[in-house]
């Protein structure tokens, strides 16, 4: 295979990730499981979250995995402004998660509706619906930003 990716990037991800892994071990025993819910995103944030799981960044090697059910999740990751149609699904997903649990939002529209603020069909910020512990900004947030934001979050929480 041709060396397509800048070597520095992989190292950067590796360094931040290893630190993150150690913190997750301390806090969660084994690993951090995340359930993702799209409440009206344009899909770019999803694409970046999937990218964070590709072999270049490979979030899973640091103990972070995305799970299929909220029952298995420690954290809920929400993208997009909240469409009226997703309000019930968001609340139900949050309710279905076992305690302790926390919510992460990714992307500018999850923070306050972004470009969709004021629409007749959006419900405003995610934080007004479920408690949000961490927001990762960006339009969309790049994979490296996601890894670094998670690391920063754990550092703050554990210090």
């Amino acid at each position: 295979m041709t060396r397509l990716i800048e070597p520095g990037l992989s190292e950067e991800a590796c360094q931040a990730g290893s630190e993150l892994k150690a913190l997750i071990r301390k806090k969660f025993g084994r690993s951090l499981h995340i359930r993702q819910v799209d409440t009206g995103s344009c899909g770019a944030c999803e694409s970046e979250i999937i990218s964070a799981n590709n072999p270049i960044y490979d979030l899973q090697r640091f103990g972070i995995s995305f799970v299929a059910s909220p029952r298995h999740a420690d954290a809920l990751l929400v993208t997009g402004p909240v469409s009226k149609n997703m309000l019930i699904a968001l609340n139900e997903t949050y309710k279905a998660m076992p305690e302790p649990k926390f919510v992460i939002t990714v992307g500018d529209c999850a923070q306050d509706g972004g470009l969709f603020k004021g629409s007749y069909y959006t419900c405003g910020a995610v934080k007004d619906i479920v408690p949000v512990a961490l927001h990762i900004p960006g339009c969309p947030a790049a994979p490296m930003d996601i890894i670094k934001a998670l690391l920063g979050f754990y550092k703050r929480r554990l210090s």
């Binding site: 041709t2 990716i5 819910v37 299929a68 009226k84 997703m86 629409s119």
Partner: protein
């Protein structure tokens, strides 16, 4: 009259046809104004003679200025590189029109949309269930795209009525809106008898954000940014279609260098999405190595996008009148060498897939969308080409792609393998086009952006994105603010294709069929 040929054609099928007016608005756009009594027959005749599905159909609320609603139905004339718009006025009291959907299925979803958003009833349409304003949360009698809609008036809420399949041994399997993967929300309801799927009903609209209303009142630069957020994996195609409509209205020419750079970005967007889907198809048959390999190639293209524009998804790149970011000599060199590596890796990926017997066995004849069904549904873009329908705006409309002797990908059987082969062909063709376009970037052509003038009017902007044709209908007021913006993403027509393609397949193959279509939730839901 400017286009007698079309009128003569319509008259062969509809002898009493008497259009109110025929106007060639732009070289690529003809508007035929008809009275409401002629609308149905005129549309059906055009559908047959062109032939073309309903590419888009929408209403505008002009009650404020002209005391009427307007309905436009747009067809494409590929042979003549022209869009044919059939337009009629509808009185504002008790607005209705005769449904086209009974005779032309491709009008079905558009009519449901007109009904829920404007309260204009398509009389005779057998299915008036709402698409996006879900019955459970949106009170009936509220039509948000009417200009006088300000806030929700109380009204009844109810449940959505699914089509039920009943009989001994028939099971219903509901899935979603929240899915197992990292993906948009949608509800799929399968009816199965034993293993095979006998009916799939899709309920979408979960990511509805009211985009068309948000466009209204915005100036071009703000509206362009919004168009980039309609469907995040097609930022560039959407902003390009938007910009082209705005350029037509304002009479702005685009510098030749900007055209080539736009061409390059449009193809880069196609490449990262095609390779992503090829990896997704491999993943959904459990072939994880090529899937991981494909995701590395996608990452390389996203990083290339970033290197060229500062945005992995090509946001903030387009502008009305051209493009805001140039590809200079230094970037050009880096670009071409990256592309070489990407091409080499892609060839290897394809070799791995095509030489795996078990992989080919899974994708061959799975999820077939037959040509007849695709034609009836009005399938467009990549999905249509895989089912044997020759359609690609890049081939049939003049422009840099046509000049570069663009080769259209075609398959016949419409199965997962056909859609895979179309993607493989198009990825390689995109590489060739990019090299060709890059070669056309000569020093001395410094201008990449013309300032758009302020002029009112309406026009259709279009481009062939990676899924298919992306259409933007804009109406702008004299002061340069948008009055109406109708967005048509290819996913809107193609989602129905998926529900036919899976019939007779087993539920475990659904993700595979779904990935081979890879349609946009937000592009559909708006």
């Amino acid at each position: 009259m400017d286009s007698p040929e079309i009128i003569t054609g319509v008259k062969t099928r509809f002898p009493g046809f008497a259009p109110l007016s025929v106007e060639q608005n732009y070289p690529d756009q003809v508007t035929v104004k008809v009275c409401p009594g002629d609308f149905l027959e005129a549309c059906l005749a055009l559908h047959k003679i062109l032939p073309s599905p309903v590419m888009t159909l929408f209403a505008s609320d002009e009650r404020g200025d002209h005391a009427k609603f307007v309905i436009n139905c747009i067809f494409v004339n590929l042979r003549k590189s022209q869009w044919v718009i059939v337009s009629m006025d509808i009185p504002q009291e008790n607005p209705f029109f005769a449904s086209l959907a009974k005779d032309m299925h491709s009008a079905m979803l558009f009519e449901r949309e007109v009904w829920e958003m404007f309260g204009i009833e398509p009389k005779g349409n057998p299915d008036l269930r709402r698409l996006r304003l879900h019955d459970e949360v949106w009170p009936s009698g509220n039509y948000p795209l009417r200009k006088d809609f300000k806030e929700i008036r109380p009204g009844g809420v109810s449940d959505y009525k699914f089509c039920r399949v009943e009989g001994e041994g028939v099971f219903e399997v509901p899935v979603g809106p929240v899915h197992a993967g990292i993906i948009g929300p949608g509800h799929f309801r399968f009816s199965v008898a034993g293993e095979p799927i006998i009916n799939l009903e899709l309920r979408l609209g979960f990511t509805h954000r009211g985009i068309e209303k948000l466009f209204e009142g915005k100036p071009y630069p703000d509206a362009l940014r919004l168009s980039e957020c309609v469907s995040g994996d097609s930022c560039f195609a959407h902003s390009l279609a938007f910009a082209r409509a705005a350029e037509k209205i304002s009479g702005t020419s685009v510098p030749v260098r900007a055209e080539y750079i736009r061409g390059i970005f449009l193809e880069l967007e196609r490449m990262y999405n095609h390779v992503n889907d090829i990896g997704g198809i491999a993943l959904d048959v459990g072939f994880s190595f090529p899937s991981a390999f494909a995701s590395i190639i996608k990452e390389a293209i996203l990083q290339l996008n970033f290197g060229l524009t500062g945005s992995r998804y090509l946001k903030n790149v387009n502008a009305v009148g051209g493009i805001s970011i140039d590809i200079g000599i230094d970037k050009k060199k880096m670009f071409l060498s990256s592309l070489k590596g990407i091409k080499k890796d892609f060839d290897e990926l394809v070799k791995i897939l095509y030489s795996s017997v078990s992989f080919m066995d899974r994708v061959d004849s799975t999820g077939a969308l037959h040509k007849k069904t695709a034609l009836d549904l009005g399938a467009v873009g990549l999905v249509a080409r895989a089912s044997g329908i020759p359609t690609d705006l890049r081939k049939y409309f003049p422009g840099i792609h046509k000049e570069a002797k663009f080769k259209m990908a075609m398959q016949e059987t419409g199965d997962v393998l056909s859609r895979l082969r179309v993607r493989v062909f198009e990825f390689r063709e995109s590489c060739r086009l990019i090299e060709e376009f890059t070669g056309k970037l000569k020093s001395g052509q410094d201008n990449i952006n013309n300032k758009p003038g302020i002029r009112g009017g309406s026009a259709l902007g279009y481009t062939e994105g990676w899924r298919g044709p992306v259409l933007y209908w804009l109406e702008t007021g004299r002061e340069g603010l948008l009055k109406r913006c109708k967005v048509t993403d290819p996913s809107f027509l193609n989602w129905q294709g998926l529900s036919y393609a899976v019939l007779g397949n087993i539920i475990p193959d659904f993700p595979l069929c779904n990935k081979s279509f890879d349609l946009s939730y937000p592009g559909n839901d708006l």
